[in-house]
């Protein structure tokens, strides 16, 4: 694996895999600002293979695999031939509609990957929302970084949900992308979002255990929707088996749009 040092190297490596592609398949949809963060922190590596390029991002104690392949045959061949699977703990995501994901699955299962979890995308169109209730909600502050990280790591699955690192949380706080509700000086709940133009994505919506059933989650969600009055399209990814969370999102107008994400774990994780 070669360390990536510039976004240009990423672009070149993706184009290399696309050259001559008849049925290009990928799970890599990088946003330049995120790429720069990963590169600056020495987290991103690449491996150029015949008909495919693999990118690896170091995430806590495992690697996230992103692939760009000329077609499903090249993907299957190169995954099977990659010797790193014998020694590395690897997670990868297969994203698309059911039929696209089912075409990619056969490339991974023979190499020892097993289904870890499944996420589904929910979408909400613009609609009026009633006023905020419950605890007052404001933007998270610089000093909240560690508490935000702790709450997210405590609630969400680190393999399944692409948890942010502390530096990403600090950058999000500075960019006013995290809403926080506090009670007695403690972080009771949060909503971490990413907004681009007329679209906004909820990355994490969480309430600390001791503050549940107190409308903290509703308060941060309503505040989020209130400050995004101009946004036309809201999206998020949720664990497909988390009926409780899905029910709450439905209450706020979200519904599945048919995109799914199969999270696969390599043998050293799933064993």
């Amino acid at each position: 694996m070669t360390p990536i040092q510039t976004p240009g190297q990423v672009f070149d490596a993706v184009q290399r895999a696309k050259g001559g592609a008849t049925a290009f398949c990928t799970n890599f949809f990088p946003v330049e600002s995120k790429l720069r963060g990963w590169i600056n922190h020495g987290e991103l590596f690449a491996e150029l293979r015949d008909g495919a390029t693999f990118f690896f991002r170091k995430d806590r104690d495992f690697l996230r695999l992103y692939f760009c392949a000329a077609d499903a045959v090249a993907l299957q061949r190169e995954i099977a031939a990659w010797t790193g699977l014998q020694t590395e703990r690897v997670i990868t995501d297969l994203v698309g509609d059911e039929s696209a994901v089912n075409k990619m699955l056969p490339a991974f299962e023979p190499a020892g990957f097993r289904r870890h979890t499944q996420l589904q995308r929910l979408v909400r169109m613009r609609r009026p929302e009633s006023a905020t209730d419950g605890l007052p909600v404001g933007f998270a502050e610089k000093a909240d970084g560690q508490a935000v990280l702790g709450l997210i790591e405590n609630i969400f699955d680190r393999y399944g949900e692409q948890l942010p690192m502390l530096y990403e949380i600090e950058a999000a706080i500075e960019s006013r992308q995290i809403l926080a509700a506090r009670s007695d000086g403690q972080l009771a709940g949060l909503l971490f979002f990413e907004t681009q133009g007329l679209a906004s994505t909820v990355r994490f919506w969480a309430v600390a255990e001791k503050f549940r059933a107190l409308k903290v989650g509703s308060a941060v969600m309503r505040q989020y929707l209130k400050i995004h009055d101009a946004v036309r399209r809201f999206t998020l990814w949720v664990n497909a088996g988390n009926d409780n969370a899905i029910q709450k999102y439905r209450h706020f107008g979200y519904a599945p749009d048919g995109l799914i994400d199969h999270v696969l774990a390599s043998r050293l994780i799933s064993a």
Binding site: Q15, K18, G19, A21, F24, F29, A70, V95, G96, M125, R126, T195, Q196, G197, L198, A199, S200, V231, R232, R233, L259
Partner: protein, 76 residues
């Protein structure tokens, strides 16, 4: 045959594509939409857009999408 604007509106009916000059920066198309759009353009115009051309710059607005179609051998 449908126009580029008609195809875009079918994919994302909530947006007014005539009011934007940068669909990506305005959040109107994401990576998944680009894949859907390529498939719809292929089907509607009978072209095959090469993988190397599926980059955000080619999907910024109606003009860049039409230029991509011309490059791929059709006349939008």
């Amino acid at each position: 045959m449908k126009s580029v604007i008609e195809i875009l509106t079918e994919i994302r009916p909530e947006f007014d594509f005539t009011a934007s000059s940068d669909f990506i920066a305005d959040g109107m198309l994401d990576s998944f939409d680009m894949v859907t759009l390529v498939s719809a353009l292929d089907k509607n115009w009978g072209v095959s857009i090469p993988g190397t051309d599926i980059v955000p710059e080619n999907f910024q607005n109606v003009q860049t999408i039409e230029a991509l179609l011309r490059k791929s051998g059709t006349k939008p």
